[in-house]
């Protein structure tokens, strides 16, 4: 009854060190189980975090309006191929009650030249509301204002990648660059935001007023894209239907005809992606948990062997006064120490795998303390649960028969 637990633990360690290979193989199931739980959860958390970042990078309550696809003689073109959206559409949308602000966009690939340097990048014509919609402030200088937008001013705000490529460590603000042979004054530099979820460098960009873009570079009167920021997350769906109704009216589309534009609710899409990443993580962790279960069965198996092998020892212990409880405790502690040992090794391995994945693959992994604590608790629980039957069997041996066992 009072046999000290410490001695049981000590004795458990002795048993394992005498059977190193067997103990290791027994715990291998637990090691692999715990390692895969840790690794998969860290991958899942990493994925969730990057989706969260992507959502934030999309801007607040963002809706995207694209021109529709055309069907000319059976050939269906992709989105954005039609010139059905105009700057006037954008201005009308801005007045809708559920809409906070909007920005129309045109994107083109152009060569940007400063003195001897040049850099091919994406030039985007947009509205002065762009920093608000995209949650994307400038760090140096300033963004162009409404006035500059309306007057088609030759001003540009550049991303950090473009700044580095053309100016190195210099402050680009105030310099004049050539885009499409038109001189532009750089008035600001955008904050670095890195790569998006699809691996594109978002900082490789030059932003100019959309009117300037339309009149001086693209020479067109339609826009590629209109980005809209709804008043709140709740309002995104209301805004979506208001915009659809408005554009149908503006474009004179009869009731039976399809839209010549698309309204996409990106926040919703990102949230769906986020929750599917979560479900995926749970599924992966469940598969890993199954291997923990199999590991537990391995422990039960070897503990049963151990009980049989040590029948005589159990008989001796009972003869000198061990009660049922003492024997039960001894074997439960042995199986728990065994699986805890496996759990600790498994955590080490799992952390290693997680770091390795982070280092060699584009996947970003995040390790938190929760899965580690859960793994430790779970592996001890596995030891107790699967050790119980063998321990119970041992404690119920008849001392006379146990002593006779050879």
């Amino acid at each position: 009854m009072k046999f000290p637990i410490l001695l049981d633990i000590q004795s458990a360690f002795k048993t394992f060190t005498r059977n190193k290979a067997r103990s290791f193989l027994t715990t291998l199931g637990i090691i692999i189980g715990v390692a895969s739980v840790i690794a998969t959860v860290s991958i899942g958390q990493g994925a969730s975090a990057s989706i969260q970042n992507a959502i934030n990078a999309l801007g607040s309550n963002l809706l995207i309006i694209l021109p529709g696809s055309s069907n000319l003689g059976g050939v269906q073109t992709g989105f954005g191929e039609l010139s059905t959206l105009t700057l006037q559409d954008a201005k009308a949308i801005r007045k809708l009650p559920a809409v906070k602000t909007d920005a129309a966009n045109i994107r083109m690939n152009e060569q940007v030249i400063w003195r001897g340097n040049n850099w091919g990048t994406s030039v985007m014509g947009t509205s002065s509301t762009f920093p608000i919609i995209k949650n994307w402030p400038v760090t140096k200088g300033e963004f162009f204002d409404k006035q500059q937008d309306n007057t088609a001013a030759n001003v540009a705000v550049i991303g950090t990648t473009v700044a580095t490529q053309l100016f190195g460590l210099m402050n680009p603000v105030g310099h004049i660059v050539l885009i499409h042979n038109v001189p532009f004054k750089i008035i600001g530099e955008l904050k670095a935001i890195g790569f998006n979820a699809f691996g594109q460098d978002q900082d490789d960009i030059v932003v100019i007023p959309i009117t300037t873009m339309m009149e001086k570079i693209a020479g067109i009167s339609w826009v590629n894209i209109i980005m809209v920021s709804a008043k709140s997350k709740k309002d995104t769906e209301i805004a979506q239907s208001q915009i659809t109704a408005l554009l149908r009216q503006r474009h004179h589309i009869p009731p039976h005809k399809p839209n010549d534009f698309y309204v996409r609710n990106l926040t919703q899409i990102a949230q769906t992606a986020g929750s599917s990443a979560q479900i995926f993580t749970i599924l992966l962790a469940a598969v890993a948990a199954v291997s923990l279960l199999v590991g537990g069965i391995g422990i039960m198996n070897i503990m049963l062997v151990s009980v049989t092998e040590r029948t005589k020892e159990i008989g001796i212990r009972m003869a000198v006064g061990a009660k049922k409880y003492d024997i039960l405790k001894q074997f439960l502690i042995e199986s728990s120490v065994l699986s805890l040992f496996g759990g600790v090794l498994g955590i080490g391995l799992g952390v290693g795998i997680s770091d390795l994945i982070s280092a060699v693959s584009p996947l970003h992994t995040i390790l938190t303390i929760e899965p580690i604590i859960i793994s430790i608790v779970f592996s001890v629980a596995v030891g107790v649960f699967f050790g119980f039957y063998p321990a119970y069997k041992a404690s119920n041996l008849n001392p006379v028969e146990a002593l006779r066992y050879e």
């Binding site: 009854m1 009072k2 046999f3 000290p4 001695l7 004795s11 002795k14 048993t15 005498r18 005589k312 020892e313 008989g315 001796i316 212990r317 009972m318 003869a319 000198v320 006064g321 061990a322 009660k323 049922k324 409880y325 003492d326 008849n398 001392p399 006379v400 002593l403």
Partner: protein
């Protein structure tokens, strides 16, 4: 002998033991009546299959009779729970078996400490008691941390005696203790039993089929076909 033996240690009244093996009932012990006094050196002799091992298991509280009453130091132990019996074995009875029955993965000293741990004695104190018991059976301190397979059979059996007496048991059950030893070692071992019997007044119950060994005892019974035939 003299004044000590007046106190009853063991009293068996009409003890019977029936083993049920499938449909057949095997009667291993029939109406055993026996009284053993404090400090006696008692031998139980009999051929194999006579029932002497069954009797020994009952006397040692390892097994319980199917009928009759067993009083150990005036307490009726024939109906006690397994855990109570374990307690009684721990406090009152020491065992010495034919096959030594030391735990191979524990050191000599750990084997001797074992009964004290199950009694809840602190490690430091248990260690002191175990050392004392080992000195009594002439096991040198240098061998204390050896494992059982590193010492001779005679020494292992002396360690078993040390384990039996370490908790100041009032009875020692010795089941064919010399069975695995040659005659020189046998005599040596028996002299230790005699010494413990003389010096500590411990009741010793010796089960054997060798007359030479039984000769160390002062009282004898012979078991045949489950009955005591000669007293």
């Amino acid at each position: 002998m003299d004044s000590n033996i007046s106190k009853t240690v063991i009293r068996l009244e009409h003890i019977g033991m029936i083993y049920k093996t499938g449909a057949i009932n095997y009667e291993a012990l029939k109406d055993i009546n026996l009284t053993i006094y404090k400090g006696e050196f008692f031998s139980i002799m009999g051929a194999s299959g006579s029932g002497k091992s069954t009797l020994m298991n009952i006397l040692g509280c390892l097994d319980q009779p199917t009928s009759g009453k067993y009083f150990l130091e005036d307490e009726d132990v024939s109906m006690l729970s397994k855990d109570r019996l374990a307690d009684i074995r721990n406090k009152k009875i020491g065992f010495v078996f034919q096959g030594f029955n030391l735990i191979q993965r524990l050191s000599i000293i750990e084997n001797v400490e074992l009964p004290l741990f199950y009694a809840g004695v602190a490690h430091k104190e248990a260690n002191i008691e175990a050392k004392k018991a080992l000195r009594l059976v002439d096991i040198a301190e240098s061998k204390e941390n050896n494992f059982p397979n590193q010492i001779s059979g005679g020494e292992q059996q002396r360690v078993a005696i040390a384990r039996a007496i370490v908790h100041n048991a009032s009875i020692i059950m010795a089941d064919e203790p010399t069975g695995n030893l040659d005659s020189v070692r046998s005599n040596e071992l028996m002299s230790f039993f005699k010494k413990i019997n003389d010096e500590r007044n411990v009741t010793i119950i010796l089960v054997t089929h060798e007359p030479d060994v039984a000769a160390f005892a002062k009282k004898h019974i012979i078991v045949k076909d489950g009955r005591i035939v000669d007293n």
